[in-house]
Amino acid sequence: MHEASLVRALLTQVGKLLTGHNGATVEVVRVEIGPLSGVEPTLVEIAFQQQVDATPCCGATLKIKEVPLTAVCRDCSNEFNIESFRFQCIACGSNQVRITHGDEFRLLDVELRTASPVTTQPN
């Protein structure tokens, strides 16, 4: 179970984004998890809940977007989704495929709430 250490890395990165946003709080942390990312979404969620309140991201919500594993065939250039880890082109049967998406645990974006009043720009 290495989700805990990856979530720690995630929270550190999000914490760094707070620098330069004085008094801001983190509302939402949006991540993407693919089937070959090596992490399990449920365990990421649990690790996040266990750790978040002890960090500057205290109170933040984690939103996980689960994405499919996609590949492109090196032989016929077909782009397709890999199901059940069958690394084979569904069009030509070639096993020379390059993974294009779904093998990472990515930080997509972060929503910050700034407590300072909105200043209206003079025209």
Binding site: M1, A9, H21, G38, R113
Partner: protein
């Protein structure tokens, strides 16, 4: 007093910084002529035995060192110590090695004048697959007692590996394990896998395995030289 929500786009792999560090270290190792091999398997598949046999095969000819990761004890380091420089990396509870642990191990090794540096990962076919340790080669061991159906069950491990070593081949007559079936299953996940069958206790297959590593190091050095020639007018 109103509050305002701002979305900060990032769109970056959480391990991006670690991957960058790993890439930098990999280039440094290559320039120094050190081929780094990340050795992975389930516990007890024979990583340490394979490294003992490798060190004996190369004795007096090749300079190798080992960083060996375990949750506890320095038993593997003690086994390897008579054969080559070795440092035990004790992870406490962690199920895999990460770059900072490797860096600490390298500092303890002192010398960096090795032709081959093996990183024997924690026995685990899951988590170590997600961590780049600056290796040039990722090698997964599968012992014949584990069953030939394992590659398909651990797709990330086999997809990210360069070679599979089927170990404990002396037990083949006693277990229902098909080397061919295991290789076919592994190549469904990673068609370019190199495969070896070894028995570390009897030295079976060790010469072929060592030659593979020697060729990989030669290729690495040629690639470094080509890059150097391109850069230097």
């Amino acid at each position: 007093m109103t509050s305002v929500t701002t979305t900060i786009p990032v769109n970056r792999d959480i391990k991006a910084e670690l991957k960058r560090q790993a890439e930098e270290m990999r280039c440094d190792f290559a320039r120094r002529g050190t081929l780094v091999i990340n050795m992975l398997s389930s516990p007890g598949a024979g990583k340490t035995s394979l490294l003992e046999a490798t060190a004996k095969h190369w004795r007096g000819q090749r300079r190798m060192a080992v960083l060996v990761g375990d949750l506890a004890t320095d038993r593997d380091a003690q086994r390897l110590a008579p054969h080559c420089p070795v440092e035990q990396l004790t992870t406490g509870g962690a199920c895999h090695l990460e770059i900072p642990l490797v860096q600490r191990g390298l500092e303890k090794l002192g010398s960096n004048d090795f032709e081959f540096l093996f990183i024997e990962n924690v026995g685990n076919l899951v988590c170590p697959a997600s961590h780049d340790l600056a290796e040039h080669l990722r090698v997964v061991l599968l012992s014949v007692t584990e069953g030939d159906d394992k590659p398909g069950k651990y797709p990330k491990m086999f997809r990210t590996s360069d070679a599979v070593v089927i170990s404990k081949s002396d037990l083949l007559p006693h277990v229902p394990f098909s080397v061919d079936a295991a290789i076919v299953d592994a190549r469904l996940i990673q068609p370019d896998l190199e495969t070896f069958t070894v028995c570390a206790l009897t030295d079976g297959g060790i010469e072929k395995w060592c030659q593979f590593l020697e060729r990989a190091r030669d290729r690495m050095i040629s690639a470094v030289n080509v890059t150097a020639e391109t850069v230097t007018p």
